[in-house]
Amino acid sequence: MNPQTSTSRPLIPKRLDNAGLEHAYDLIAEAMDAAPPEKRTLFLAKLAFVLANLVGDDRQVAQAVEAASRDL
C-alpha cells in the first residue's frame, strides 16, 4: 500500500455542488441506459459536443478533452 500520486495537475474547476454532480451522474447514467447499447457511444459524442457548445469557450473545451483523455 504505497500510494503513488498522480503527476497530472487538475484541469477542471468544481462548478457544480455535490448534489448537482450527483444529479448529473444519475441523469447521464439513465440516458445511457435508455439508449440502445450499440448507440451509446454516439449518444455520448453528441452529449459532449452539445456541452462544448454550451461551455462556449475553446480553451475550456480543450481542457475538458484533455482531462477526459487521461487515465483511460
Binding site: 500500500m1 500510494p3 500520486t5 487538475p10 477542471i12 447521464i28 447514467a29 445511457m32 441506459d33 487515465d71
Partner: protein, 565 residues
C-alpha cells in the same frame, strides 16, 4: 419442540457463553403475562429492554438461541449510537474494548484518490466511529439488562405464533421443555431481518433489493495498520468490485468485497477460493501476512422498510422493521435509534398514555428509514451499479479522480447519522422555534458541548425522562427566572439549569446544575437569560423558547407526552 444449539459457536477470538434455558412458570401451568414482551435479543431488542428498565418498565425478552450473534456482523457504532449508549449507562464498557476512528482512505489503481474525514469537533465526546464486534455489543447489553433486575431474558425460547388483539398480543413460545403462551400488553418484533413476526402477520416491506452479493470475512492477522476505513475500488484481481477493510478489536480484520457477477454464495465461500482472495487482498494492502479465518458470510444490499411499525399491539424495530445496506454502517445504528425512540413511548404507553403516542414512533422512524433508503440507494448505486449506464458513470468518475478533484466527493457514501424529526407531531411552538438564531431546532437531537476537561453537556442529562434546559446569565436568578423554574417544578421532568456560576439560591431552583463559565453552552444553544429547551427522553428537542413561560412549557410537555395538540 425447539432445540437450540447448545454447543458454543466456534470462534478464534470470542468465547461464547451458552446461557441456560430456564423453564418458565407457564410450563408448570401458571398463566404468564408481561407488560412488554420483546421478541429477539439482538442489539435492538436488548437495548430496548435496557432503556425500558431505566424508565421503570419490566420486560420479557424471548430469544430462540442460547448465545449471542454468530459472527461479528455489525462492527461499527456511530457517535449517535455511542451517545445513546451513554444515556443507557453502558458507554464505558464499549469504549474500553472498541476501537475509535474518524478517517478513511480510498484507493484506485494503486493511487489514493479520496481521503474521508468524518466531522468531529472538540464539542464531541465520541469519535465518529467505534469498531466493536456484535458479539461484544450484545454481551455488554445482556450484562446490563441482567444487572438492571428488570429484564427477564428467556434464552432458547422461539416465538412460533401470535394473536394480535385489541387489548394485547399473545405469543406462542416453543422451548426445549415444550410450548406455552405469553400474553403481553405490547409485543415488540425485534427478531431481525428474517422476522418471524413479520411473516406470521403477512406484512410486506417496500423498497428494493440490489443485485450483487458481498462476502464478509473476518481474519486474525498482524497487519500493523491504524484504525481507519480502507476502500479499494476496482482492484485488478476483482475488476469492477470494491474491497473494504476495517480493523476490529482482538487483532481481527474485516474484509468485505463484492463477488464477480454470476458467482453464487456457495462458490464464494469455498475455502480454496476464499483463501486465495484473502491472500490477494493482503498483497494489495502490502501486508502479505499469515492469517486465520474466524467467520465468513455472504450478504446482499437492500433498501426496504415496512410502511408502518405499529400494527395493533405489535411494534416493529430494527432489522425486523427495515433492511438497509451496510455501506454507511446503517444496519445496527438505525436500529439503535429505533430502540431509543421507542423505549420511552412504550414505557408511557404501558402506563396508559394515549395510543397516539406510539403512532408517532412509527411516523418518525418510518420517515427516517425512507430517508436512509433514499440516501443509501445513492451509495449503493455507486458501490454496486445496477445497470451498464451506472457502471460506466462509476468508471468515469473513478478515472477522473486520478487527476481531478471536482468529482472526489462522489466517492464518499454518506454515513448513518441521527435523524431530525422536523415534522414530528410531538413538536410544538413552531414560531418560537423559528425565532432562534442557532442551536438545535425542534426535532433535532441535542448538540453536545464541551464544558471542561472530560466534561460534556450530555454527561449531565443521563436521568431517564424529559428534561427542561433553562439558561441563566449570572450566579443569581432574577425574579422571572426563579418564578419560571418554581412553576415548572410540578411537571414530571428534570429541570437543568445552565449558568456561568451558581449562587446558593440559584442552585436550589434546579434538579441539575451545569456550570458554563465560558458561556459555551449558551452560545451553542443561541440562548439568553430565560431561554429554555424542552427535550424528550430520547434527547430530541420538542419545543424551545427564547423567553420561556411555565404555561407554555406545560402545554408543550402535554403535546410531547402524547396528549393531542
Amino acid at each position: 419442540m425447539h432445540q437450540p444449539d447448545a454447543q458454543p459457536r466456534p470462534s478464534i477470538f470470542y468465547d461464547y457463553k451458552v446461557h441456560p434455558f430456564r423453564s418458565p412458570p407457564a410450563l408448570q401451568g401458571t398463566p404468564d403475562a408481561a407488560s412488554v414482551a420483546i421478541v429477539g435479543a439482538g442489539p435492538v431488542g436488548l437495548l430496548l429492554a435496557l432503556r425500558l428498565a431505566q424508565f421503570g418498565t419490566w420486560s420479557v425478552v424471548l430469544e430462540q438461541e442460547l448465545q449471542v450473534s454468530h459472527g461479528s456482523r455489525a462492527i461499527v457504532l456511530t457517535r449517535r449510537s455511542m451517545e445513546i449508549l451513554q444515556q443507557a449507562g453502558v458507554a464505558p464498557r464499549f469504549l474500553q474494548k472498541g476501537l475509535p476512528w474518524a478517517n478513511g482512505r480510498s484507493f484506485y489503481r494503486g493511487q489514493e484518490v479520496y481521503r474521508m474525514v468524518m466531522p468531529h469537533s472538540e464539542d464531541d465526546r465520541f469519535l465518529p466511529g467505534l469498531n466493536l464486534q456484535q458479539q461484544y455489543i450484545e454481551q455488554y447489553l445482556v450484562e446490563a439488562c441482567e444487572a438492571s433486575g428488570m429484564v427477564d431474558i428467556r434464552w432458547g425460547s422461539k416465538v412460533i405464533a401470535l394473536q394480535n388483539e385489541p387489548g394485547g398480543a399473545t405469543l406462542r413460545v416453543d422451548t426445549p421443555a415444550g410450548e406455552y403462551d405469553l400474553t403481553a400488553d405490547y409485543a415488540v418484533a425485534a427478531d431481525g431481518g428474517r422476522s418471524t413476526i413479520r411473516r406470521l402477520m403477512g406484512l410486506r416491506m417496500e423498497g428494493r433489493a440490489y443485485a450483487g452479493n458481498f462476502v464478509i470475512a473476518d481474519i486474525a492477522a498482524d497487519l500493523g495498520l491504524p484504525t481507519e476505513r480502507l476502500c479499494f475500488f476496482d482492484p485488478e484481481w476483482n475488476p469492477g468490485n470494491n474491497v473494504l477493510v476495517h480493523r476490529e478489536p482482538d487483532g481481527i480484520w474485516r474484509l468485505d468485497f463484492r463477488l464477480p457477477e454470476g458467482e453464487t454464495a456457495e462458490q464464494a465461500l469455498e475455502p480454496a477460493r476464499l483463501s486465495d482472495r484473502i491472500d490477494k487482498i493482503l498483497a494489495m494492502l502490502g501486508k502479505p501476512a499469515p492469517w486465520k479465518l474466524d467467520w465468513a458470510t455472504v450478504y446482499t444490499a437492500n433498501t426496504l422498510t415496512l410502511p408502518d411499525y405499529v400494527v395493533g399491539r405489535v411494534i416493529f424495530a430494527g432489522d425486523a422493521a427495515h433492511l438497509l445496506p451496510i455501506f454507511g454502517v446503517r444496519g445496527a445504528n438505525t436500529g439503535v435509534q429505533d430502540a431509543d425512540a421507542l423505549a420511552w413511548r412504550l414505557a408511557m404507553a404501558a402506563r396508559g398514555a394515549p395510543a397516539g403516542l406510539l403512532a408517532t414512533y412509527s411516523h418518525e422512524r418510518v420517515q427516517a428509514a425512507r430517508e436512509i433508503c433514499e440516501e443509501a440507494g445513492k451509495s449503493t448505486r455507486f458501490m454496486t451499479p445496477p445497470t451498464e449506464g451506472f457502471a460506466l458513470m462509476r468508471d468515469a468518475v473513478l478515472s477522473l479522480t486520478l487527476s481531478e478533484d471536482f468529482p472526489k466527493d462522489l466517492l464518499h457514501w454518506r454515513t448513518s447519522r441521527p435523524h431530525f424529526y422536523a415534522d414530528s407531531p410531538l413538536n410544538s411552538f413552531p414560531e418560537e422555534n423559528a425565532a432562534f438564531a442557532g442551536g438545535p431546532g425542534c426535532g433535532e437531537p441535542l448538540a453536545n458541548v464541551r464544558i471542561g476537561p472530560d466534561d460534556f453537556l450530555l454527561d449531565h442529562l443521563t436521568e431517564p425522562g424529559f428534561h427542561l434546559i433553562a439558561f441563566a446569565s449570572s450566579a443569581e436568578a432574577g425574579p422571572d427566572l426563579a418564578d419560571f423554574l418554581r412553576a415548572c417544578e410540578p411537571l414530571p421532568l428534570m429541570r437543568v439549569l445552565v449558568a456561568p456560576a451558581f449562587g446558593e439560591d440559584l442552585r436550589a431552583l434546579a434538579d441539575v446544575c451545569v456550570a458554563d463559565p465560558q458561556g459555551r453552552v449558551a452560545a451553542r444553544y443561541a440562548a439568553n437569560a430565560g431561554t429554555a429547551y424542552l427535550v424528550r427522553p430520547d434527547g430530541h428537542v420538542c419545543a424551545r423558547w427564547l423567553s420561556a413561560g411555565a404555561d407554555d412549557v406545560s402545554h408543550a410537555f402535554a403535546i410531547a407526552a402524547g396528549a393531542a395538540s
